[in-house]
Amino acid sequence: MFVRLSIAVAALGVLTGAALAQGAKLTDPQIAHIAYTAGVIDINAAKQAESKASSKDVKAFAKDMARDHEAVNKQALDLVKKLKVTPEDNDTSKALSKQAADKLAELGKLKGTAYDKAYIDNEVAYHKTVNTALETQLIPSASNPELKSLLQTGLKIFQGHEQHAEHVAAGMK
């Protein structure tokens, strides 16, 4: 399953030769770290968009993303604290963060409508990738029922974001 997630990450863009352990099962501390990292990535993208975007709809979308992902990540932190689980950094989280940093730098060079469009298109693609990873890897691998349930709610939220992003993208054409 690690392999399939790494394919999803690679599909996003850069996978810097991080040697992902083949066939290794994701543990709950790793899953929590990946899910949290995925949230932080979208918050950072949203913060850049809140200052750089020119379209009112794109700015509003970015604000929604920051608010929702912060709320979900707060819930995730509360849960790991309650479960006494320490999120554990891992190659998937590292690959996600590296890819996101590159994307942020790439978007940072764009301006005006070109930036707005690139940000929204990336939001559609990013949520799609994260949702696929949640659905096929993270949720099935999670052992703790409360973690699984939080990930399932997260999936519904992010599917909502994906549709919201698609609406905003469609409105820009």
């Binding site: 709320a71 707060k74 819930q75 909502g160």
Partner: protein, 106 residues
Amino acid sequence: MSPGRYLATLALFALGAMAVPAHAATVQIVMENMVISPAEVSAKVGDTIEWVNKDVLAHTATAKNGDFDVTIAPKKTVRSVLTKAGTVDYYCRFHPNMKAVLTIAP
């Protein structure tokens, strides 16, 4: 009880009934774990909808035809009175996968 008193009591009841029209009801719609329930509900013009958001996220109840657009903060309840009849499809603007139908009789 004297007949006069009886009539006065009746009159008081009648006044009370007029102050609170019998048909005005409160209908509760709950948003929890990204689901609106009940997904289909009937009400009447003049009824109050009690929008209960149990999620940690803000939601909206946004009518597709523009009849209403209510924002409900996380863990809050918002009340709104129905003013227009019709079958209204509504959704959450922040999470468009949350959808439901409200049928409002005149």
